[in-house]
């Protein structure tokens, strides 16, 4: 079983990287783009036979305590198979 955890800055937190990408896109002629927010994701592989019911709360905890800083970041957990 494989899962993906997405981590991105909260909408209220300044994202200078996203802003720089947006202005670069504007420079390339993509005038219709008004905003870019960047983030990261983690692909996580579970041992064969791991129950999803067990993996899900574990992943939520990992996302909250380790992968994301909830002060500034949002996260989302997704199962890939």
């Amino acid at each position: 079983m494989k899962a993906r955890v997405y981590v991105s800055l909260k909408p209220t937190v300044l994202d200078p990287q996203g802003q720089t990408i947006r202005s670069a896109l504007a420079g390339l002629g993509h005038q219709s783009i008004t905003d870019v927010r960047q983030g990261k994701f983690f692909d996580i592989q579970f041992a064969p036979g791991t129950a999803r019911a067990q993996a899900e709360p574990e992943l939520q905890q990992i996302a909250r305590d380790v992968l994301a800083n909830p002060v500034i970041e949002d996260y989302r957990v997704e199962f890939l198979d």
């Binding site: 937190v13 300044l14 200078p16 800083n69 500034i72």
Partner: protein
């Protein structure tokens, strides 16, 4: 009186901090390994600058789980003096000992230069030797120094006189020009500028001694 300087893999200002305490301040200092679960009887703890664990994930994100941080948290809860400098400040916010977070500099550049800092309060064991409103010069050297927190937290920091240092010219986009803050108990200070790099005339400024001398005075006072 004994100062402890925590050494994480990737710390690179640990020796600077040790030198500033042992040579410039003239007080006993020792290193504390990150795998140790004890502070070895130290009376004050410094989390130095650097790139603990390569700054992987986020600055301070891995360091907060190291064994020594359990001891640091307990020490802080019991009122012990903890100073986090640069990466040390990031570790303190990640560990929940200080509110808010340090994010990528507004200009996306690593900034390494001396800056002006206004000392905003002397009501702390880290600044009692200074003067309110005094402008100190200390170097910054960081990529993630932009202090951000929600409005309620910022209002609380302002109301409770917990913003210790403000940049005179904001270099990184920090909210309210914040360069250093205290915890609620006023015994934990996190700051992005490096006082330990401004303790010897050779370094161009000795303004950082205000912080170390204040700490020494607080420790002396608490013993008598």
């Amino acid at each position: 009186m004994k100062f402890g300087v925590v050494v994480f893999p990737g710390s690179n200002c640990d020796h600077d901090a040790w030198y500033a305490i042992a040579r410039n301040l003239g007080q006993p200092a020792e290193f504390l390994w990150h795998e140790s679960a004890s502070l070895g009887g130290c009376d004050a703890v410094i989390l130095p600058g650097g790139f603990s664990y390569g700054d992987y994930l986020r600055g301070g994100a891995i360091a907060k789980f190291s064994p020594i941080m359990g001891a640091v948290k307990k020490f802080a809860r019991d009122g012990g003096l903890v100073l986090g400098i640069c990466n040390g400040f990031q570790i303190l916010t990640e560990a929940g000992l200080l509110p808010g977070a340090l994010t990528r500099n507004r200009g996306l550049k690593f900034i390494c230069r001396p800056v002006g800092l206004r000392l905003e309060t002397t009501a702390s064991p880290f600044t009692s030797a200074g003067r309110k409103g005094q402008v100190l010069t200390m170097p910054i050297a960081h990529n993630e120094g932009c202090y951000q927190a929600d409005e309620r937290t910022i209002a609380q920091l302002e109301d409770e006189d917990r913003i210790v240092f403000r940049y005179t010219h904001n270099p990184n986009g920090s909210m309210h020009d914040i360069a250093g803050i205290l915890n609620e108990g006023r015994n934990v200070l996190g700051m992005m500028p490096h006082p330990e790099r401004a303790c010897d005339p050779l370094m161009g400024s000795t303004d950082g001694l205000v912080v170390l001398q204040s700490m020494a005075a607080a420790l002396t006072g608490s013993r008598t």
